[in-house]
Amino acid sequence: MFSFIVQRLMVGIVTLFGVAVMVFLIMRVIPGDAAVMLSGAGAGAVSEEELAQVRTQMGLDRPLVVQFVDWAGHVARLDLGTSLRTGNPVFDDITRRFPYTLQIVVMATLIAVFLGIPAGVLSARYAGTWIDQLLQALSIGGLAAPSFWVGLILILGLVSLFQWSAPLLWEPFWVSPVKSFTQLIWPALAVGLRQLALIARMTRSIMLEVLGEDYIRTARAKGLSEWHVVIRHGLSNGLLPVVTLIGFEFSALFGGLIITEAVFSVPGLGQYVVASILNRDYPAAQGIVLVLAGIVVLGNLTVDLIYGWLDPRTRLRGAET
């Protein structure tokens, strides 16, 4: 097991290296550079000579390979550099914004799990009835609605019905949990809807499959109540793929939040990464993409581990090939 983890981590590091190369190259290929953006872009009277000086100052005039090696070297020492835009260490910027994003992700996941799994179970339990059909229609709808559109509609509704407006100061969770919860519930809902639908659908189909298995028949034959059978025997055995889905979606959520954060103007990672790319803030954009990719890699690893833990059959997967 240990060597499996180590092996997966190594693969993860290789992956991250690939991401690093990609984001580095992409940022350099995008027209317009940090010097232009940070020199009062559009003011018009900034000469090419001044820009060249700024580039030298930022080290942007060095060969790309040198810049990459320099950056990668710092990243290896967990130093993501200094944001060209905010002047703060990128790491600090990220850690300050990360809690909001994480909280939305966690809340969205909780909403999805606590509504999605029961909905799926209910759907499976009453498969074929109107309850099932209604829930299925809702979940297909939930999948189809673009999350930022849901966000916009939510805002529209909130504003016109409750005179709601986006909070000015987003309280961190540890300062005021209740306030923070009420502030972030809307974006969490907007992004969580999709996860909810996914989980409900997945739970339903797995439950249907599991409920057809022999041991469920046995349980039924023993005269246990239907709900007992569904929950104790069905759900607990069908949880594995749902866990996988949650794990994968959890990490995919981080990327998907970008747009929802923009809609709700949450000061999370999403806004930061978009602003960094648009402002050609190389260290920031590179750093945050790397962090987001790291989350995806870790998420996948966690899923693998949970999988191995829940299902011993997969434990030796690494040794097969």
């Binding site: 995008i30 999948l143 995919a252 747009i259 890699v297």
Partner: protein, 308 residues
């Protein structure tokens, strides 16, 4: 193991299902009728998509107004008898823009998902079939693309390429590539171990022939499923790109564009500007998901057993 991140449909297991699902040539038409009776939702999805295609193709004949030239006397008109769905900030008829926008959204959706799936599947099939270093390198590159947040990858690509329609399609296809590659590769690994691939080799088929004639047709179904699923996703992502200002160019009407830019800041005074394009996207994604579901059900022998 599930490889369908962020996807409602498509799992590796489908490959096995496909092996038993080849319809005979004669009964196809009859089968179509049977299928739509068994999968009314799938038929509905196909119908909606088809309608969108028809509307898109016939846009100049169907649209009541010019989608670009606005009526300056009717800015922000709420839905009324002239402008059924109202007008936007430039006095442009929303219905007409939706009708013309179907072209862009369809092209983006189909283009991106097809391109992404074709490129991804080719990479996945070749890598999976060949194995060795090519496979390892492809896998690592795909992993890196995979770990790159989907929207950011598209955003960055759009910024690199510039925002023309074809570039947006390329940008949106990028995140689909690794996903399609993964699914194709895992299908190929399953297939590779099957006897009929070995038989083809024993027969003397070249690798290219085996990949094209034996591997591809047998991975086709899962790929078709993910293609329908990503069609919807690409449409949504295009809207998101537009929202972030890196998508389709004005005045070209695209559904995503209609929900972003000036539109959103006016949503409070003129909510119809935002609501209708969103509904259109919703409908299209819904349709493609339903169709994907139906295809999936059709190809799953387990479910077929339930319908004798």
């Amino acid at each position: 193991m599930t490889t369908s991140i962020g996807l409602p449909a498509a799992a590796d297991g489908d490959v096995v299902a496909v092996l038993d699902a080849a319809p005979s040539r004669g009964g196809r038409l009859r089968a179509l009728g049977r299928i739509s009776r068994r999968h009314p939702l799938g038929a509905f999805g196909a119908f909606v998509l088809l309608t969108i295609v028809v509307v898109a193709v016939g846009a100049p004949y169907i649209a009541p107004f010019d989608p670009i030239e606005g009526d300056t006397a009717a800015l922000f008109s709420p839905p009324n008898s002239t402008y059924w769905l109202g007008t936007d900030a430039f006095g442009r008829d929303i219905l007409s823009r939706l009708i013309y926008g179907a072209r862009v959204s369809l092209m983006v959706g189909m283009g991106a998902s097809l391109l992404g799936v074709v490129v991804g599947a080719s990479l996945g099939i070749v890598a999976g079939y060949r194995g060795g270093w090519a496979d390892i390198i492809t896998q690592r590159v795909m992993d890196a693309m995979f770990a790159f947040p989907m929207l950011l990858l598209a955003l960055a690509m759009a910024a690199v390429l510039g925002p023309s329609l074809q570039n947006v399609i390329i940008a949106l296809a990028m995140p689909i590539v690794p996903r399609a590659a993964r699914i194709a590769r895992s299908s190929v690994l399953v297939l590779k171990a099957t006897a009929f691939i070995e038989a083809a080799r024993a027969t003397g088929c070249s690798d290219t022939r085996i990949m094209l004639r034996h591997v591809l047709p047998n991975t086709f179904a899962p790929l078709l499923i993910i293609a329908t699923a990503y069609l919807g996703l690409a449409v949504v992502q295009e809207a998101a790109l537009d929202y972030l200002g890196a998508g389709i160019q004005e005045p070209e009407p695209s559904w995503g564009l209609m929900m972003s830019g000036a539109a959103t800041s006016l949503a409070l005074v003129a909510p119809w500007i935002v609501i209708f394009p969103g509904l259109a996207i919703f409908l299209m994604v819904l349709a493609s998901n339903l169709l994907g579901d139906a295809i999936r059900d059709l190809l799953d022998p387990k479910l077929q057993r339930d319908y004798p």
